[in-house]
C-alpha cells in the first residue's frame, strides 16, 4: 500500500516536473522542472527493481547533464533576462500535434497484449550481473559507447572553440 502511494508520488513528480519544464517561459524554471522530473524518474527506477540505475540516473543526469545545461544557460544569458512572448498559433499547433501523436500511440498501447512473465530472481538484478554482462556479452556496446563519448567531447570542443581570426 505504502509502496503504491510512493510510486504514485514519484509519478506525480515526473509529470509535474515535466509540465513545468514544458510550459514555463523562463529557462531557469525549465531546468528546475527537468531536475524534478529526473528525480522522479530515478525514484521510479528504484521501484522498478534497479537501485543501481536509480543511482546512475541521479549521478549522471542530475549531477552532470543538468549542471551542464545550467552552464550553457549562463553563457547565453541574454535571452533569459526578458522571457520571450508566447506565440499563440505555435502553441496551439504544438498542442494539436502532441495530442494527435499521443492519441495514436495510446491506441497502440491499448491494443497491444503483452504476455505475462514470472518475475526474475533477486540475483539477476544485481550490479554484478550488469557488470558481468557489460564486459562479456555487451562488450561491444560498452566500448562503442566509450568511443562515442570521446567523439562527443572532441566534437563539442571543436564546435565551441573560439574562431581563428581571418585567413590562414
Amino acid at each position: 500500500m505504502l509502496e503504491q502511494a510512493v510510486i504514485y508520488l514519484f509519478a506525480a513528480l515526473v509529470l509535474s516536473g515535466g509540465l513545468m519544464a514544458a510550459w514555463t517561459r523562463h529557462i531557469l524554471y525549465a531546468i528546475i522542472g527537468l531536475g524534478i522530473s529526473l528525480f522522479g524518474v530515478a525514484g521510479l527506477f528504484l521501484y522498478l527493481g534497479s537501485p543501481f540505475l536509480a543511482a546512475m540516473q541521479l549521478l549522471i543526469y542530475l549531477g552532470g547533464i543538468t549542471v551542464a545545461i545550467v552552464f550553457a544557460m549562463m553563457l547565453s544569458i541574454a535571452m533569459t533576462v526578458t522571457p520571450p512572448e508566447r506565440n499563440r498559433a505555435k502553441t496551439v499547433f504544438a498542442a494539436v500535434c502532441t495530442a494527435a501523436f499521443g492519441l495514436g500511440v495510446f491506441q497502440l498501447v491499448r491494443a497491444a497484449r503483452f504476455p505475462a512473465v514470472s518475475p526474475a530472481p533477486e540475483e539477476a538484478w544485481s550490479v554484478g550481473a550488469i557488470g558481468h554482462a557489460l564486459l562479456t556479452h555487451y562488450n561491444l556496446v560498452f566500448e562503442t559507447l566509450s568511443v562515442v563519448l570521446l567523439l562527443a567531447i572532441m566534437g563539442a570542443i571543436l564546435i565551441a572553440r573560439p574562431q581563428r581570426k581571418a585567413a590562414s
Binding site: L53, A72, S76, P84, F114, A124
Partner: protein, 101 residues
C-alpha cells in the same frame, strides 16, 4: 502499478517532452524537452524489463547506454548553442529560419 500504467506514464512524459520541443522558443528548453523524451523511453524500457522479460540485465544495460548517449548528445547540443550564441547573439528558435523558402 501495472505494465500498462507504466507505459501510459511514459507516454505522457514523452508527449510533454514533444510539446516542449515543439513550442519552446529557447533552444535550451528544446534540449530539456529532448531529455524528457529520452527519460520517457528509459522508463518504458525499464517497465518492460520488469514485467515482460526473463533476464533483466539487458534492460538495465539498455538504459545505461541511453543515459550515456544522452550525455554525449547534450554535450554536442550545448556546444552548438554556445557557437550559435557567439555568432548570432540569439538562440531563439523562431529567429533561426535560414532554411526558409
Amino acid at each position: 502499478m501495472t505494465l500498462e500504467g507504466y507505459l501510459t506514464l511514459s507516454l505522457m512524459l514523452f508527449c510533454i517532452g514533444v510539446f516542449a520541443v515543439l513550442s519552446q522558443r529557447n533552444l535550451i528548453a528544446v534540449l530539456i524537452g529532448v531529455e524528457l523524451m529520452m527519460n520517457a523511453a528509459s522508463l518504458n524500457v525499464m517497465a518492460f524489463n520488469r514485467f515482460s522479460v526473463t533476464d533483466p540485465t539487458t534492460g538495465q544495460i539498455f538504459v545505461l547506454i541511453i543515459i550515456g548517449l544522452a550525455a554525449a548528445e547534450v554535450a554536442i547540443f550545448l556546444s552548438i548553442i554556445v557557437n550559435l550564441y557567439r555568432t548570432r547573439r540569439t538562440i531563439d528558435a523562431e529567429q533561426l529560419t535560414e532554411l526558409q523558402g
